[in-house]
Symmetry: C2
Subunit: 324 residues, 2 copies
């Protein structure tokens, strides 16, 4: 059991540390503080895993794109032109991302041996949507148009992002992450063929290269919104586990996904935020639906900032009671 | 063959008329002009169907909520408080929506007999998301929270929207619409149980009441983003046809949906906007995948405003050539 975005603004100890840390990027690149933030939810809730405090946009930053995090508005990047793709150089990005690997190493050294440390990256498609639009968008239309108008430049971009992601994940694994998760937050918006080309194929390439280098690494994929393409994603990419969002029917996950891989999910983060009896019922439903197979309890997306800490305590206690 | 949002800003004749018509709402409530706009794409492209020019937010407007359309920003509503739900009165809304029925009647009288006229409404869930948030949102979080925090008020709201939608659709059918489509644009964001409660059940209620009143009406449902819940939606709601977005795999639609209902879709509107050989290939793929069963060629969502008219001409010619 762990929770996506478990280290974050809903925790008072995070907000306290964040106030001293300068910008969001400064915090990500400060190994001491990033590792401390990483451990905060495990210290408070005794969760089974810590996920390194970092961001999927550190990769474009390390590739040389300008990235800022605007308080209360989210990320702002200098939008990438098709002609600028070939200027992005994955060589040497591991040097620029070294502070993240240092944070992983520090977190690992301070974490109890029975706790898992999880590393992560954004999937190439999702990272590309931010690089192209320069920000989060409703429907990723800018990136989807870019693909149609500049397909070869886009293919080149994805190739560079695969290369960079492999370096980023390998660095985290070598520093102490035993599991890595690939977040493809905007996978759901892709059409059938585009999903194969820009979600499945790059993820498969990353998985293969990680396996070749570190056979014992465990890899979780999170193609959010993939719905009808989840089975295909699991079968074709070779991930060990799949994270499912809150819209995935539990019976489908149990019957079609769990026989193939471990399933992680899928409580609606808004149910965690609002709490009460509806939270208990939703937890029990998930445990009854997926608890019989290979299963990691988690949310269907990240913890939202106004989540009361008491609701997370209630969640953790309830899952523990079930586990016995 | 017809195209969602086929009457709209991408057409120069629409922009010309729009410039003379005052506000967007004024245009919707002007039967002469609304019927003229409705017919424009049929006149220009000889499509098989016209869809009445109107908006899903006319229903909240008729229920007494303040609705404005802000140029270039989309709709703005006075956000609905839980305590205000019981003030919404579906009685008498057909009187307030009479100009739409008049527009339907005018359009029908000017349309060739072999052309179909389509009426529509927003599904209760989707309309509720706008009523609660007061605008379009990325993840419909405001409405999803409202459900969790005020379930009985929300159930009351949905009931009133079912009532209003039945009145709105029946008025359109009686004025000359032979087919109606129920747009559930934000169905995909609902969790498994919420999808049953707030998408499937209200749609089923609307379908049953329409059938009881007008057995010969044909009803298309469009639960955008429903993915893994599409089969359930089709089986449980009793719709005659289902419109599928561009993310639905064609083989799934052919094998699992077409045996049950007519399938409508599903070209990516951005492929229509960008055109070229990719457009031809995407059209051919859809025709090959779905053309063997009950099928209505359409987009996977609405025409986007910067779509070149020439691309629509190319699309229509290609589908006609296939049809022979």
């Amino acid at each position: 059991m762990w929770l996506m975005r478990q280290a974050g603004r809903y925790l008072p100890e995070y907000r306290a540390l964040r106030a001293k840390a300068g910008s969001f990027l400064d915090l990500c690149f400060d190994p001491q503080r990033a590792s401390e933030v990483t451990l905060q939810p495990v210290v408070r809730f005794d969760l089974d895993a810590a996920i390194i405090f970092s961001d999927i946009l550190l990769v474009p930053h390390a590739l040389g794109q300008r990235v800022d995090f605007v308080e209360g508005e989210g990320p702002r990047l200098e939008p990438l032109a098709a002609t600028a793709v070939r200027g992005l150089d994955p060589e040497g990005i591991t040097r620029r991302l070294q502070p993240v690997f240092d944070a992983v190493g520090l977190a690992r050294s301070r974490l109890a041996p029975d706790k898992t440390l999880i590393g992560f990256c954004g999937a190439p498609w999702t990272v590309a949507t931010y690089m192209i639009a320069g920000r989060g968008t409703v429907d990723q239309a800018a990136a989807r148009r870019f693909v149609l108008l500049n397909e070869s430049a886009f293919a080149d971009l994805i190739e560079r992002l695969v290369e960079a992601s492999v370096g980023f994940l390998l660095g985290q694994i070598r520093a102490g992450a035993r599991v890595v998760q690939i977040f493809d937050t905007w996978a759901g918006v892709l059409g059938e063929e585009a999903f194969e080309q820009w979600c499945v194929a790059p993820t498969k390439a990353i998985v293969e290269r990680l396996r070749a280098a570190v056979p014992e690494a465990r890899i979780i994929g999170f193609p959010k919104g993939a719905g009808l393409r989840l089975e295909r994603y699991v079968a074709a990419t070779g991930v060990d586990g799949v994270s499912i969002d809150w819209t995935v029917p539990l019976r489908f996950a149990r019957d079609r996904l769990q026989p193939q891989v471990a399933v992680q999910g899928n409580l609606d983060p808004l149910i965690l935020a609002t709490g009460g009896g509806a939270l208990d019922a939703a937890i029990d439903r998930i445990l009854a639906g997926l608890g019989g197979g290979r299963f990691v309890f988690n949310l269907g997306h990240g913890v939202v900032p106004d989540t009361p800490v008491g609701n997370v305590e209630r969640l953790v206690a309830r899952v523990r009671r079930w586990r016995g």
